[in-house]
């Protein structure tokens, strides 16, 4: 019973510590605005969300993917979210599959 408790605690600890988000933002760029009714830190921002699983292929090489949905072709904010499910997926596929959950805001077109 004690062993089970320890395992549960360990799993909880791993699960909780692997859930976090980090936001990067440029200091002087003008974000792409949007008229929305959201009531969070992104109020007034045009936020794009990317929630996908990236599979590493032999031909892929470095782990990157293209962001094509950005009219100015420049990023203002990127928020990366790590989840327990994502960590687990990465572990059980030996790094072949990565769950990617990001929010991003583009630089406003013609503002640079």
């Amino acid at each position: 019973m004690r062993f089970i408790n320890i395992v549960v605690c360990f799993c909880l600890m791993v699960a909780l510590s692997s859930c976090y988000s980090v936001r990067f933002q440029v200091e002087q760029g003008q974000w792409e605005p949007a008229d929305t009714e959201r009531e969070d830190a992104y109020s007034g921002y045009n936020v794009y969300t990317l929630d996908t699983i990236v599979t590493r292929k032999i031909t892929t090489g470095a782990h990157y993917f293209n962001i094509s949905k950005c009219p100015s072709q420049a990023l203002h904010t990127v928020e990366y979210r790590s989840t327990f499910g994502g960590v687990l997926l990465n572990a059980i596929t030996f790094g072949r599959k990565k769950k990617v959950k990001i929010k991003y805001v583009c630089i406003k077109e013609n503002s640079m």
Binding site: Q28, D35, E37, S43, G44, K108, S111, M112
Partner: protein, 531 residues
Amino acid sequence: MATTKIDNRTRWNTLHKNGPFPLKKFLTTELEKPTSGLSDFEKYKDVAIEIRKLIQQAANKNECFRAIGSKWSMSNIAHCQDRMHYNVFMNLKFNIFEGEIHQNSAYKHSNLFWFQCGNQIKEISRYLEQRGKSLKTTGASNGQTIAGCISTGVHGSTFDVGSVQDYVVGLNIITGPNSNDNVYIERKSKPALRDDYFQKLDARIIRDDDIFNAALVGLGSMGFIHGIVIETEDLFLLHRYVKKVPKTEALKLADTLDFSNYDPKIPNFDYTGVRPFHYKIFMNPYNKNESKYAVEFIYKMPYYEDYKADFGNPIPFQKQFIYLDLIYLFIKIAEKLPKIIPTLIKALKTSILPMEEKTTVGKLSEIFWDAGFQGKAFACSFGVDHKNSSKTLELLAKLTREHPVPGIFAMRFVKKSKATLAFSKFPFTCMVEIDGIQWSDKDKLISLKNYSTKMIEVLKNNNIPFTIHWGKNANWEFPGLVKHMFGIKVKKWKKSRNSLLSIPMQDVFTNNFLNSTKLSGPLPLEDNLIA
């Protein structure tokens, strides 16, 4: 061709969620893409035709049409129930060259820039900084569009500079659907651009001081502001320092704005007798025992490239500051207090505004940087002659203790504006403002409408002449309010509106705010003859 996306909607809200308000159609116009091969001038002309078309469509349906930018106003000034036009993507920028300056102009061409309406303060600052220039002043933050700023009178606390509209030298306004409804207005007494400059843009030129001054703070009702010519200045640095100052000392400075013998005692700097660029007082109305006010001093410094080596990057510091805009300060204080609003107000009685004695040096755009969304907010802001500032603060703070609401006060100071309906109408206007979070009926507090009515009554009963910030919360339906605030200037403003807009177009550019303030409707013929 520029394209306009038309979304059917049922409602719309301000950034600070002061609505919602009913809405039929939400229009968003975007410029031609770079791949079109059009020059920026051609894109500008192209989008002017598009706006004229949209105005025609609204007129055909007897509907109102209103341009909006970043929707930072908390009053319903930006709202109209039929067609609201989101213009933030109309953000072309132009330098003015030597040959384009009017022969009688006193302006240096290198200081003049022309911005399309949807340019936001932050992107304008960046554009200017890349050319060694700076805006003269902004509001406490940087998200507003330039057209939104001037239409509502956005100000900082630069009492020797003025508000955003005070560095505007020319306005390109579309007043209707016809080709001759595309006008460029500047002061006759202070021309800026050559005639052929705006003829290139198919704009009709009006040089008239009265019309220009009326259109400056046009409340979104003088037509569609398409472009704005502003005067900038060379880059400068600002040195910001917030410290606690004894009440009597802070208020004496407010009432006199006399810094000739004053020493703010800022470590490592001697500003004795130096007039600050910016002076602002923060005040918690509920704690009567606090002997000192938090005061923000900002001094102007010459710009030099490696200031960050001496003072550090100001942006990370900004994120640590508590005394940014007033609502931000209140949220920071409220974070540590109970969440239930009546209990929060009770806790404010013993709360002391925090210390923050840190030096920051940065460009204007760095000192007045981003302000994130702070939740559902309210703000009431009254302009009085600075000589009445301490008396006004005392009266409004007393009222607030008698009828508590979740907010705190600040005082900012602004130089007189030439704009006809500028609330900065006194030689030096003190804007006494209360910002805070919205409350509901279940909190059993006075309603915002009743609170703001009482603010008006208190000032009237004490014979303190006042104005109200157009973009802030107030009982705008208070009988005779605007006439009381502006007197004969109301007729002058209406007269200019009459000369710019036909009667059908006045209807198109009228909204509930204008009706509430009795500024809508044409001027009777006899009044139209006033000087």
